[in-house]
C-alpha cells in the first residue's frame, strides 16, 4: 500500500514551490492586477507562470481536432482561449501555466515577508466583544442526538454503585432518565480588534480608467493585509467630485463624474461616518484617499487640512493619501500635504506614477505598522 507520507511530501514540495513563485513574482502580481479579479471569500486564484514542464509541442490554434456528436458545419463548440478538448487545443500561447488556489491569509503572509511589513499593534484595548457559542457545556436535558455517552455512563455508574445495584461480576449499567447528560452550548465572549478602511476616491473627470485600475489593485492588497491583521474588517467607500457620497464597492470603481473637485467634501463625509458608526475606542480606522491631486481652490485645501488636523487624524490609526498621475491633474495636493504634515507620523503619502509604482506605494502605506 502506498506510503502516505510520500505523497504528502510531494504535496508539501508543490506548495513550497507555489509559494516561492508567488514571492518571486509578487511585484508582477501587484502590477498587473490579474489575480484580483478571481477572488473568493477566503481564497484567490493565482496564475503561476511556467510551473508546468515545457516540452516541444505545436502552436495551439493551428491544430484543432476531431470530435463526435451532434452538430453541423459552422456550429460553435465554445469560445475563447481555452478551446474544447483538454489541453490538446488552445491554451493561451502556452504562457498560461497553472492556476492555484491560495488562501488570502497565506497571501498576506507572503506579502508581509516580501514587503517586510511590520505587524500592526492594534490601538486601544480589545474592547469590542463578539459572542460565540461553543458546545462546551453539559445539561441534564437535551435532544438524544446530543447525548454525552461517557458522562451519562459515569452518572449511571455512580448511582448504581451508591445504591448498591452494581455487581462487579455482571457489570451492566442501565442509565435512567435522571442519569442522562447532554452536550450544550455556552456563550463565550471573544474580545476582538476591529478595523474599518474608508476608501475615498476622486471620480472627477480627470481620473481615467487606468487611474481607477491602480486604485482597485491597491485596495485589494490593502484589504488583504489589513484582513490578516484584524479579526473584523469592514470597508466603506466614498466617491467625490465637488460633493461626496457613500457608495458600494462596485459603484466605487465604476463611477465617472465630470464635475470639479472638492476634496473637503469627502473628508467631511468620512468624519461623519466615523463619528456615527465607528467609535474610536472600539475601532481602528484607516482612511485611504486616492486622487490625482487636483483640488478646486486653495481655500478648499485649507479646509481639508483643518478637517485632517482636528477631525480625521485624532480618530484614525493613520491617514493614507495616494496620488495617481493623470494627464489633467496638477498634482498639487500631495505637496500641500507634505508641507503641512512633514512632521506627522500618521500621515502617509505616496505618489503612484504608474502600475509599476504600486508595489512601493503599498510598502510605504503599510510599512509603518500603524
Amino acid at each position: 500500500m502506498a506510503d502516505l507520507s510520500k505523497i504528502k511530501q510531494d504535496h508539501r514540495r508543490f506548495k513550497q514551490i507555489v509559494r516561492g513563485k508567488i514571492k518571486q513574482n509578487l511585484r508582477e502580481y501587484m502590477t498587473n492586477g490579474e489575480m484580483t479579479g478571481k477572488q473568493g471569500k477566503d481564497i484567490v486564484k493565482i496564475p503561476i507562470p511556467r510551473i508546468d514542464i515545457p516540452r516541444f509541442r505545436y502552436g495551439s490554434k493551428d491544430t484543432g481536432g476531431v470530435g463526435q456528436g451532434n452538430g453541423e458545419v459552422g456550429d460553435s463548440l465554445g469560445e475563447g482561449e481555452e478551446g474544447p478538448g483538454k489541453g490538446e487545443a488552445g491554451e493561451n500561447e502556452g504562457e498560461k501555466g497553472l492556476e492555484v488556489d491560495v488562501a488570502l491569509d497565506e497571501l498576506a503572509e507572503i506579502m508581509g515577508e516580501e514587503l517586510e511589513l511590520p505587524n500592526i499593534e492594534p490601538r486601544g484595548t480589545e474592547r469590542l466583544q463578539t459572542m460565540r457559542s461553543k458546545y462546551s457545556g453539559i445539561r441534564s436535558v437535551g435532544p438524544e442526538s446530543l447525548r454525552h455517552f461517557k458522562r451519562t455512563y459515569k452518572e449511571a455508574l455512580q448511582r448504581q454503585i451508591s445504591s448498591g445495584e452494581y455487581d462487579p461480576d455482571n457489570p451492566i449499567i442501565v442509565p435512567t432518565r435522571e442519569d442522562k447528560r447532554y452536550r450544550s452550548w455556552k456563550e463565550t465572549a471573544m474580545p476582538q480588534s476591529n478595523a474599518v478602511i474608508i476608501y475615498m476616491m476622486d471620480v472627477s473627470g480627470s481620473m481615467g480608467e487606468e487611474q481607477k485600475e491602480i486604485v482597485r489593485i491597491e485596495s485589494f492588497w490593502i484589504d488583504t493585509w489589513l484582513r490578516s491583521q484584524y479579526k473584523g474588517l469592514e470597508s466603506r467607500y466614498i466617491i467625490h467630485d465637488a460633493t461626496a457620497k457613500e457608495v458600494d464597492r462596485d459603484t466605487f470603481f465604476h463611477t465617472r463624474e465630470s464635475g470639479g473637485t472638492m476634496i473637503s467634501s469627502a473628508y467631511k463625509l468620512a468624519l461623519k461616518m466615523i463619528e456615527d458608526d465607528f467609535p474610536i475606542e472600539d475601532w481602528n480606522v484607516y482612511p485611504f484617499h486616492f486622487s490625482d491631486g487636483d483640488n478646486w481652490s486653495v481655500d478648499d485645501t485649507a479646509e481639508c487640512m483643518r478637517i485632517l488636523t482636528d477631525g480625521l487624524l485624532p480618530r484614525s490609526n493613520m491617514f493614507c493619501y495616494g496620488q495617481v498621475e493623470s494627464p489633467y491633474g496638477s498634482g498639487q495636493f500631495i505637496k500641500d500635504l507634505n508641507e503641512k504634515f512633514s512632521e506627522a507620523d500618521r500621515v502617509v503619502v505616496s505618489e503612484i506614477k504608474n502600475r509599476d509604482a504600486i508595489y512601493d506605494s503599498i510598502k510605504t502605506f503599510l510599512g509603518k505598522g500603524l
Binding site: M1, A2, D3, L4, K6, I7, Q9, D10, H11, R12, R13, F14, K15, Q16, I17, R50, I51, I53, P54, R55, F56, R57, Y58, G59, S60, K61, D62, T63, G64, G65, V66, G67, Q68, G69, N70, G71, E72, V73, G74, D75, S76, L77, G78, E79, G80, G83, P84, G85, K86, E88, A89, G90, E93, G94, E95, L98, D101
Partner: protein, 493 residues
C-alpha cells in the same frame, strides 16, 4: 486492503466468464482502498510509490480537490505488471464494482497480449520502487532542490524518444573500416581500362568516397529520434545525473504503449465490461444502474473525442463487418447501397477478428485500417478548428478524409512534433543541433525556448533547433544566457 469475501466471489465469477469468452489476462490482484489512497495512487500514475517530485503533489492536490467538490472520482486504476494490480474504490456500489472488475480484466488481457506492450517491463512496480530509492539517495546527498530541478530538466525532454526503438535491432556500430586510399575501380585488363573505368566514372567514385568520408565524420551518422538516448550516451553528465536521465527515459518508454493504444485499450475494456456484465453477470434489477454507469463512461462532450466511445464502437463495427463478411474486394467494389445495407455472408468471423486486432494493432494502425466512411457518418464525427474571426472553436467539416487524416495526425507520435538530433558537433564547436521535421504545423516557440534551456542544462554547450516557422526556415539557439534566432535554409530530413 484485499477484497472482502463477497467481492472476491464476484471477482472469481467474472474472471471465469472472461476466460470462457477467450480473454487471457495476467493474474490480477485487486485491492480495495479509500478515496484518499486512490487519489494518492492515481497521482503516482497508478503506482504505490515513485521518485519524489512536486508534480505528483500537484496532481494529488488537483485530484483531491476535484473529488471534494464532487466534480470527479476515479473508479479504477490498473497497472501493467505481472501480476497486475488493480484498485477498487471503497464505497462504490456493487454494480460499479462489477463493472470495474470486468473492465480491469479486459485491460490486463490487453496488457498481456497486445504486441506493443510486449517489450514493457512486467516488473515495473519493483522497478519504480527501485527508481524511487535511487533518486531518494541522490536527494540525501545533493538536496531536494538540486535533484528536483534536474528531474524537471529531464521531464522537458521525456517525449524525445523513439516509440519504435524497443522493436528495432540494436544498430551495430561497426568500427569504421580503414579509409581507402585508392579510388575503387572495376577490375579490367589493361587494354580495356579506358572503356570499363573511364575518367568520368573514376571521378564519380572519387566524389562518392569524399562524400562518404564527410558523412562518416557526422555525429550522429544519421539523424536520431531517441534524443534521450543520445544524451545519456554523449552528454557530459555526472553519474547521478546520467542515472536520473536514464530513469526518466525508462519510465517514458514504459508508459509509451499506454499512450499508443489509448483508444484500443479503453475500447476493448468497455466492450468486454458491457458484454460480460449484460450477458452473464447482472440480474434484471441491476441493469438500470449499469446502463447509468456505462452511459457516463461513453459520454462525449462537444469537441472532445472519448476514446472509450470511439474504441468500443470501432470494435463493434469490426465484429459486425467480419460477422457479415463486409470486407474484401467484393465489398469494396460494391456500389449498390441497398445491397450494402443488407449484406450478410454469415461468416461469423467477428469475434475472432477483434481478438486478432487487439493483438496486432495500435491506435494509429487501428484507425488507419478500420475507420470507414460509413462509420464516420454514422457516428457523427467531425473536424473542428479555431475561427479567428469569431473567436470560437467551430465544426469545420464532416468529410471522411479530413476526419481520418486529422485523427491520424493527432495520434501519430502522440500528436507531438517530430524532433531529431542532427548534429552533436554543430559548427564544429560541439554545439547541439536538433531538427524539427515540419509537417505543416509550427512549433510553439515559448515552449521550445523552455526545452532548449533544459537541453542546455544537459548538454552544457549552446543548443540549437532548426525548424520552419511562419513560412521561413529558422534556427533558434540558446547559449546558456540568451536566445537568438537566425534564418536558415530549411531542408526537411
Amino acid at each position: 486492503m484485499s477484497l472482502p469475501l463477497h467481492l472476491w466471489e464476484i471477482k472469481e465469477h467474472i474472471r471465469e466468464v472472461a476466460l470462457e469468452f477467450g480473454l487471457d489476462p495476467f493474474e490480477t490482484i485487486f485491492e480495495i482502498i479509500d478515496y484518499d489512497q486512490m487519489n494518492e495512487i492515481a497521482a503516482f500514475g497508478g503506482f504505490p510509490t515513485r521518485y519524489p517530485h512536486w508534480r505528483f503533489g500537484m496532481e494529488y492536490e488537483q485530484l483531491a480537490k476535484s473529488y471534494e467538490y464532487g466534480l470527479s472520482k476515479i473508479y479504477e486504476m490498473v497497472i501493467n505488471n505481472d501480476p497486475s494490480y488493480a484498485y477498487l474504490l471503497e464505497g462504490n456500489n456493487l454494480v460499479d464494482q462489477k463493472t470495474v472488475i470486468a473492465h480491469v480484466y479486459a485491460h490486463t488481457d490487453f496488457f498481456k497480449n497486445n504486441y506493443f506492450f510486449s517489450r514493457t517491463n512486467r516488473r515495473m512496480i519493483d522497478e519504480m520502487a527501485n527508481h524511487g530509492a535511487r533518486v531518494r539517495r541522490y536527494v540525501d546527498r545533493f538536496g531536494i532542490e538540486i535533484v528536483e530541478d534536474f528531474i524537471d530538466t529531464c521531464l522537458s525532454l521525456d517525449n524525445l524518444i523513439d516509440y519504435h526503438s524497443p522493436f528495432m535491432e540494436q544498430r551495430n556500430r561497426e568500427e569504421p573500416a580503414e579509409p581507402l586510399t585508392e579510388t575503387p575501380q572495376i577490375r579490367a585488363k589493361d587494354y580495356m581500362q579506358d572503356y570499363i573505368n573511364p575518367q568520368e566514372f573514376l571521378d564519380r567514385q572519387k566524389q562518392k568516397l569524399a562524400d562518404d568520408d564527410v558523412k562518416s565524420r557526422r555525429f550522429p551518422i544519421e539523424p536520431e529520434k531517441d534524443i534521450m538516448k543520445f544524451l545519456v550516451d554523449h552528454a557530459p553528465l555526472d553519474s547521478w545525473e546520467s542515472d536520473v536521465l536514464s530513469i526518466i527515459r525508462e519510465e517514458a518508454y514504459y508508459f509509451a504503449p499506454q499512450g499508443q493504444t489509448k483508444i484500443m485499450n479503453e475500447g476493448w475494456a468497455s466492450y468486454w465490461h458491457s458484454k460480460i456484465l449484460t450477458t452473464r453477470v447482472l440480474d434484471g434489477s441491476e441493469i438500470i444502474d449499469f446502463a447509468d454507469i456505462n452511459a457516463g463512461v461513453l459520454a462525449s462532450a462537444p469537441g472532445r473525442l472519448n476514446p472509450y466511445k470511439l474504441g468500443i464502437e470501432l470494435y463493434r463495427d469490426i465484429e459486425d463487418r467480419w460477422n457479415k463478411g463486409k470486407f474484401g474486394k467484393e465489398w469494396d467494389d460494391c456500389d449498390d447501397l441497398q445491397q450494402k445495407i443488407s449484406w450478410d455472408r454469415e461468416l461469423g468471423l467477428g469475434r475472432e477478428k477483434i481478438f486478432q486486432v487487439r493483438k496486432l494493432y495500435n491506435d494509429v494502425t487501428f484507425i488507419d485500417e478500420f475507420l470507414t466512411e460509413e462509420f464516420v457518418a454514422e457516428n457523427n464525427m467531425y473536424t473542428f478548428g479555431y475561427n479567428n474571426k469569431s473567436g470560437h472553436w467551430e465544426i469545420d467539416g464532416k468529410q471522411f478524409k479530413e476526419v481520418k487524416s486529422k485523427l491520424l495526425d493527432q495520434l501519430t507520435n502522440f500528436g507531438n512534433p517530430f524532433i531529431y538530433v542532427k548534429d552533436g558537433n554543430y559548427k564544429n564547436r560541439t554545439e547541439l543541433l536538433l531538427h524539427h521535421k515540419h509537417l505543416g504545423t509550427d512549433l510553439d516557440m515559448t515552449y521550445a525556448r523552455g526545452v532548449l534551456k533544459a537541453l542546455h542544462r544537459v548538454w552544457k554547450r549552446p543548443v540549437n533547433i532548426e525548424t520552419f516557422f511562419d513560412e521561413k526556415g529558422l534556427v533558434l539557439s540558446f547559449d546558456g544566457k540568451e536566445y537568438s534566432e537566425s534564418p536558415t535554409n530549411y531542408e526537411r530530413i
